[in-house]
Symmetry: C2
Subunit: 432 residues, 2 copies
């Protein structure tokens, strides 16, 4: 790519909620937009834990990016990884060549943050990508296959103990989903196994579940999970994770071959980018979402560090979507010689589901629990899925589970690593 | 596992059509049955090519074996690989321990056979397992992503040339499915690519497609595929396959980065088993499906070599199913001190689909083509899927494709290799 076209070019890196909403916001801006992602699909992260829990298939929550862009003729997709950013030359260096930009929007999201806990990076299962979710599903089902022919009771206990670290929404949702997977379909599959040997342990370092929500909701989640057989330990800080146990700071050791990490995330900023990065991998931005001293670079979503009313904006999908729209608006305004506007996040509420007929919702200024919250959760998630086909398939999967206690994706699917044919690429022109 | 229970034990190796039908046939036999497979799922192979063509998700054609066995309390599942067979001791040695048997049914199916063609094993994509299909789908979609930013026309041509070797049912079905994938959804996805640069080439060494079916059907497939833009070359024998080209025996070279191998299969017999094996990996059996000199070992499906009316039985799903039932019957008869019966295969016909409204059918003594054959194909395949949920989801996927020219699984999904936790297994007792 050697020449920049007459129309201004916006390069967006990352096709998560932030990047995608930015692209949508720029669809009629008059700019040429290039959306870059290392995958050819957008991942609907709020339902990722259901892939790990054998409830949904990866293809139900992954959407081909190109089909999401069909009605935006000025937005082009490029599958590539970003290697470096050269703000002085206004160039993004990718695995398939250099892309010049007039405006750059960085929206690469977040990765798991292990807080330096020994062994966490090696032995804990993160839950941030489709590959993570598939690996975790394969592993959980393999544990049951191993336990089915394991005669040593101690080993069986270790194999069948699943420890979830982190009592935020993801940890709570996954604990509930895992409990329902085991007490529903797996109970029928492994009828000769004594499922009383199965332990699901949820560890939370502070004294409350769902601590960003009203206390009432965390209390409800605590009671509900206990009722579902989940052992919830509050004030339980992890000190070490190995291949066969979790150690707590109070000295307790929990023998377990499966530790799921939902306790922390950090921004996915790369030190190679040459932009100032915070200790937790974010990039601090001005209220307009621009990087200080780099007015043509915007940062949004989990990657952006911004305070509002004295508090850091949380790393949540709605923040990313709204920031994506705001960044697109500010770029459009600059193209029209209008002044930039500060981004204001509108918190429309938070939802988390625990299981069958049980969820918590903090919306419209009220805290709901139970069946009503669960209905809202269900409706909003089905509505937000990005294609009618996926809505139908997810609904069928949920209905099957709800009425028949049956999940279709109890598969240990060993896919090969990708084999992208190594064509020597000479990127002179993005054909699309 | 040290003791054999009082009830006779039948060990079945392989949960494909043959092994599964054998298990069903033994469900009320009074025997204890252990069904062994290296995967925890049964693969519905007739639709595997649709996974490679982004039409279906792997989970739509894979069924958890344990749920298929739920209503057979005497049938137990063991996920393991068979390492050796010791007929003298009546023991199967697996990756998780030794399993003694009274009767053994071998049903491990077939693998790709490359006839010693140079480079085929390294560079051609086989289409025999779910991992194969996922790898091929990833690769085809990656080719389009590469082509989208490739400026060299010659390289683009090579990237966009897909060569299918073998004009049997799988080759014909996949050629049609690939053509519809490209001319439907990919045409819309890559609107800036000139899809006239795409070539789908189908190579058949003899002078006819679908040579096991009536000539009329092969002719129809030939015409239909040509109409769909597939370049069909008859009498085209491959001599060499490399990473960037296919060479034919007549000296022609076709530049291509994607060669799909559907030209041959061979039995999957392992030389370590210590059983007499034919040159093409099968095990020759008596008409009763027993191995000569090993009356307690039965072989069925693609693995079995048996002649009927002077012709070898073909390696097809219906043969495997019928043989599975027959082997189960013979074992049951022996348990009742009745004499064994010879297996008689009833050919109920063959079907292959080419595309939208177009299929061939050789059934009820007649050769059908076109819409009627396509309807029969569709009905039979939906009917044969193993769960109502999968039937619904496959129907939705097909309807979406049929009405909207849209396929949901255009995903380059890089799954990690399986990470079965290495529990040191001590197999004393199969708990289930």
């Amino acid at each position: 790519m050697t020449q920049v076209t007459a129309r201004p070019r916006v390069v967006i890196v990352g096709a998560g909620f932030g990047g995608l909403w930015a692209a949508r916001g720029l669809a009629r801006s008059g700019a040429d937009v290039i959306l870059i992602d290392r995958n050819n699909y957008h991942t609907f992260l709020p339902l990722l834990y259901q892939v790990a829990a054998s409830e949904l298939s990866a293809s139900d929550i992954a959407f081909p990016i190109r089909s999401l862009l069909r009605h935006m003729p000025n937005v082009h997709f490029l599958m590539a990884q970003v290697e470096a950013i050269k703000p002085e030359a206004s160039i993004v260096q990718t695995t398939v060549g250099e892309i010049p930009y007039d405006f750059l929007v960085l929206a690469v999201g977040s990765i798991a943050h292990f807080f330096g806990i020994i062994g966490a990076g090696e032995h804990a299962y993160p839950l941030k990508t489709i590959a993570d979710a598939n690996a975790l599903r394969n592993h959980i089902l393999s544990c049951f296959e191993s336990a089915a022919h394991e005669s040593d009771a101690h080993k069986r206990e270790q194999i069948l103990t699943f420890v979830i670290v982190g009592g935020g929404p993801t940890g709570v949702e996954f604990a509930g989903a895992l409990s329902e997977l085991i007490h529903g379909p797996l109970y029928q599959d492994y009828y000769a196994l004594d499922l009383r040997e199965v332990r699901i342990v949820l560890l939370e370092a502070i004294d409350h579940l769902l601590n960003t929500l009203p206390t009432k909701l965390g209390d409800y989640a605590f009671k509900r999970l206990k009722k579902m057989g989940v052992q919830v330990h509050l004030g339980a800080a992890v000190s070490k994770i190995s291949s066969d146990a979790v150690q707590l700071q109070d000295g307790t050791t929990i023998p377990s071959g499966t530790v799921i990490w939902t306790a922390g995330v950090q921004g996915a900023a790369d030190s190679e980018w040459g932009l100032p990065t915070t200790k937790n991998g974010q990039i601090a931005v001005l209220p307009t979402l621009q990087v200080p001293n780099y007015p043509h670079i915007y940062v949004i979503g989990d990657l952006a560090r911004l305070e509002q009313n004295g508090e850091r904006l949380p790393m949540l999908a709605p923040v990313a979507m709204q920031a994506g729209t705001a960044a697109a608006q500010n770029i459009t305004r600059e193209l029209r010689n209008q002044s930039q506007l500060p981004f204001v996040y509108h918190d429309r509420g938070t939802l988390a589901t625990i299981g069958r007929n049980a969820a918590v919702a903090d919306i419209w200024g009220h805290a709901f629990t139970g069946f009503f919250a669960w209905l809202i959760w269900l409706t909003i998630h089905i509505y937000n899925l990005m294609s009618m086909r996926n809505r139908l398939i997810v609904l069928i999967s949920w209905a099957w589970d709800y009425f028949f206690f049956e999940r279709g994706v109890r598969l240990i699917l060993a896919n090969p690593p990708p084999q992208p044919h190594e064509f020597e690429s000479s990127l002179h022109e993005i054909k699309e």
